[in-house]
Amino acid sequence: MKLFEYEAKKLFEKHGIPVPRGKLATSPEEARKASSELSFPVVVKAQVLVSGRGKAGGILFANSPSEVEEAAEKILGMTIKGLNVQSVWVEEKISVKNELFFSITIDRVKRSYVVLASSVGGVDIEEIAAKTPEKLVRFPVNPDYGFRSFHARYIAAKMGYVGDQQKKLAAIFRKVYAITMELDAELAEMNPIVETVEGDFVAADARIIIDDNALFRHPEYEKRLFEAGASEFSPRELEAMRKGLAYVGLDGNIGIIGNGAGLVMATLDAVQYYGGKPANFLDVGGGASAERVASALEIVASDPKVNVVFINILGGITRCDEVARGIIAAKKKVGYEKPMVIRLVGTNEEEGKHILTEAGIHVLESMEEAAEKAVKIAKGENRKWE
């Protein structure tokens, strides 16, 4: 779960990490008012849970309250990568001497947390790694030790800081680690963390992503996950999450439902292989009970782009006859009338097919064939499949 920049900064501040003074606003007037408590110049920043807001025009500078209002006017209501900007963060501009990069995230290969730091910041990590790899410090955290004062100082030293500056910077690094652990974050990042002209360090941008699977330990965030506008998810994605289904919306017109993440991804790929465009990813998970299939169909069918639904079920433990009955019940319950392609194999396959055929639904055995069919229908080449 992504936190908004302003939330991350407030957390940082609570832990004693210096951040620019700032205020949140949800209207241009409020932004203007907020700026009256700050020193100019200020920055007006879109609060939106995707990266790349700078390039999208979501960050503007202002030298007066009226400029703030103007900037907020422009930014609020903007749509950045599909997400609506509902608030802006107005904060004092800081006098930058150097922009640094600091991040704590997961190292899948080492199976540990990893600290990434660079004396070059303000650009993304891929760019740092590509352009100035010699300046990128990569420190995997050994759980026996954790991320301790001497690790933090070593990194600050590698970034070129000595004396009190080294200690200050190291202290900030350790606080970011403490936040990471406390919040079960899978990412905690300051990019940039700024060395000011005065020689202090300020987290000019802040990103935190909490591990969704650890939200049960953080009920204050867990309950927020489903609030509209409070997470990076679309209403349909939220609806699916509420029902315990993994759904990702895409641009195409072929609705896809399957059991097992890998299988559903492969189904999407097969659809694309035959020239079609998936409208979504939807994994009903293990079991594929009638109820879950109904919920899935409801969500997929609610997407107006969808003109055919392709259900790909590999009946493993679950019996195919049960799944078949589930699909029929789901179709009825949801009132879904558009065409459907179903691929169903596994235990009691014959009976399952029989049930579906009886109900006038056509079934294929091969995933590839079924994908091809679905694409043809979506393209209007095979209307008889309705």
Partner: protein, 291 residues
Amino acid sequence: MGIIVDRNTRVIVQGITGTQGRFHTKAMLEYGTQIVAGVTPGKGGNKVHGVPVYDTVAQALEKHEANASIIFVPAPFAMDAALEALENGLKTIVIITEHIPIKDAIQIMHLARKNGATIIGPNTPGIITPSECKLGIMPAHVFRRGVVGIVSRSGTLTYEIANGLTRAKLGQSTCLGLGGDPIVGLNFIEVLKMFEKDSETKAVALIGEIGGNLEELAAEYIQNEGYSKPVAAFIAGRTAPPGKRMGHAGAIVMGKAGTAQTKIEALEAAGVKVAEKPGDIAKILAEKLRS
């Protein structure tokens, strides 16, 4: 033969009294897996499908010999269950549980490494050496004793491919699901090494997906070490958009990292034939083994 599990594997089921634990204990017993005991806190003294239940692993081991565990415990308690298995010296631990926090998984893997234990999962269908031992939740009927080692990051997609291999009369030596989480106990390279040493395995099917770079590292390994057995791969998620988790916690493209494209390119550069569709894996390997 096969890897990690065989007919001598003696299993404790942790979380045996839950719906999942109960159901799959039965299925594993029916497959012939030696399940010697189950563990559920507060349920000691009961029996599940004839298997005696204990409150703790330590108590189970006072009465039974075991060397493996399979965990069905809910995510908030799964780390404790894994640590319990580890501290009690079990060397093969399959964690079926999904949604385990990353922090917990890191702790599990750290202690497993120190204990010299093998963790399969979390969020895995488990491992099966057909005709010998099924330590997992996979449907038994798609597997047949054979020559292809399968190592995969997914569940049903693996059954799909295993089924293809079974139909093609190639069968499987062992089929192992690494797990769909970002932090899992084994990586492709480790399993490739085991398959290389296993005389029954004549070829390997590697089933990857988007997210992370375990496939790229496997490709590098195959190339640099001159892997001796034919490998065919399938990578799911060519159509996945960046920044979105595709069902598995670990299946996510971050920026430009972890795409299917980079994985496919790396594998092909290493001489691995990458199938366009899951159904092609059996064809590719049948051909390679014929030649």
